[in-house]
Amino acid sequence: MDIGALLTTAGNLMLTGMVGVFVFLSILIGAVTLMSNLVTRFSEPDVATPVKSPSFKSQGVPNEHIAAISAAIAQYKSNNN
């Protein structure tokens, strides 16, 4: 293939490629916007539980353990009084 013909093909490829990228990502923009709207509409207002006790979470101590430990301490105190 001579260079002229190759250049024409490359030019065409440049055009179709850019149009392709823009069309695909534009569809994605539409889809993301739609998805965000649907998610915010259909989900109840943000659940705040994960933020409530971040210090316990980060230490990896489950709430049940804390409850059990507190109960044990309370029992110990009441036994010793």
């Binding site: 030019g11 490829l13 490629g17 990228v21 889809a31 916007t33 998610v39 989900s43 943000d46």
Partner: protein
């Protein structure tokens, strides 16, 4: 006497050729850049070492039966290594900034003009005597403009395996040079007032949105561009593992162990392609020049797109963030932040630049898919 002669013939000294010595010097240069200059050390170190190993005479590490031959065959010829890395990159990527402001995808799309303009430039270079790039070669070179290592290696291994070494070295070198290549272009194309534009804070993105996003990208790719599925699919798998929050162990492996192990062998395999007869050609110089052009054009088109968006958008958009559309995550976003801070020390653009930055990763994967579908 004959025994001594045979032993002498088996030494490296008796078998070194000038081209292989030059390639060993190139390998040493890559090691120097990685160790002393800190240029993409994670890749340039194994690539440089692979280049040295492959050019040791007699050992024949890259000949059939040699270690590097098999590493290349297993990992790159099949396309597996770049795809595993892409899974890790997916697991490392946070799409919040993009989901909060999906229009940033347009910046990621615009910056891909660097790829397609370079494709044209590579064919144009055929007018210079000594260059004979086919359309496949030109496409593989052009993807350097995607500023994304695994994508470049994946596409080059499919379209132009002979040029893979030079393309990978060019791609990673220029990614390391992003802080030097981009700022002058960004400053030249924007006014000081534009660089000072403050952008409104991004909204918080819910976990549900982050989980649905990779699945949505996957289904759109499956419908419209199946050729991009290997790249996009692995990327989305990594991202879903990250965002779902139920497979932290897998997500951590993808982000750390798998990506690290793969990087070692990917680097070695790419280095094994730095053999004298493939690398010491005039085409390599062409690839290096075209690679720089690709980065520059991509940066410029991203900035132009952001300027255009700023004109028509209700909320202000700082044109600098367009430069992050070339991908090169997260380096390009950091560069945007730095150039923004020069104009206004209180204007932090990092989070805003992450949107176009990750959009650029998707954009270059899509561009690679289009090139594979049309040229492959």
């Amino acid at each position: 006497m004959e025994g001594i002669l045979n032993l002498w013939n088996a030494t490296g000294i008796a078998n070194f050729t000038i081209p292989s010595l030059i390639m060993i010097a190139v390998g040493c240069l890559l090691l120097f850049l990685a160790i002393a200059k800190g240029f993409e050390p994670l890749l340039l170190l194994p690539i440089g070492f692979g280049a040295i190993l492959t050019n040791v005479p007699v050992a024949g590490l890259s000949d059939p039966g040699g270690l590097l031959y098999y590493v290349y065959y297993v990992g790159i010829d099949t396309g597996i290594f770049p795809l595993l890395i892409f899974m890790g990159v997916g697991a490392l990527t946070d799409f919040s900034a993009l989901i909060a402001n999906p229009r940033m995808l347009l910046l990621g799309a615009a910056a891909q003009f660097g790829i397609f303009a370079t494709l044209f430039g590579a064919i144009l270079l055929n007018y210079v005597p000594g260059f004979e790039f086919t359309l496949q070669d030109a496409s593989a070179i052009a993807i350097i403009g995607g500023a994304d290592g695994p994508t470049a290696i994946f596409l080059a291994s499919k379209l132009a395996p002979d040029l893979l070494g030079a393309i990978a070295v060019a791609a990673y070198s220029y990614m390391a040079l992003v802080p030097i290549i981009q700022p002058p272009i960004m400053r030249a194309l924007t006014t000081p007032e534009e660089r000072q534009i403050k952008m409104p804070e991004l909204r918080k993105v819910s976990k549900k949105e982050k989980i649905i996003f990779p699945l949505m990208v996957l289904s759109l790719t499956a419908m419209f561009l199946p050729a991009a599925i290997p790249l996009v699919g692995m990327f989305c798998l990594g991202n879903l593992m990250r965002e779902s929050g139920v497979v932290d162990r897998l997500s951590n492996s993808a982000q750390n162990e798998i990506i690290n192990v793969t990087t070692i062998f990917l680097g070695l395999a790419v280095g094994s392609k730095l053999a004298a007869d493939k690398f010491l050609t005039v085409e390599t110089i062409g690839i290096l020049v075209l690679g720089a052009l690709a980065f520059a054009v991509g940066t410029a088109s991203g900035v132009f797109m952001a300027k255009g968006l700023n004109r028509i958008s209700k909320t202000p958009i700082n044109p600098l963030i367009g430069a992050a559309g070339v991908s090169a995550v997260p380096m390009a976003a950091r560069v945007v932040n730095k150039v923004g801070l020069e104009s206004n020390p209180h204007n932090f653009l990092l989070m805003h630049a992450m949107g176009p930055n990750v959009a650029g990763v998707l954009g270059s994967a899509v561009a690679a898919g289009i090139l594979l579908a049309l040229v492959g």
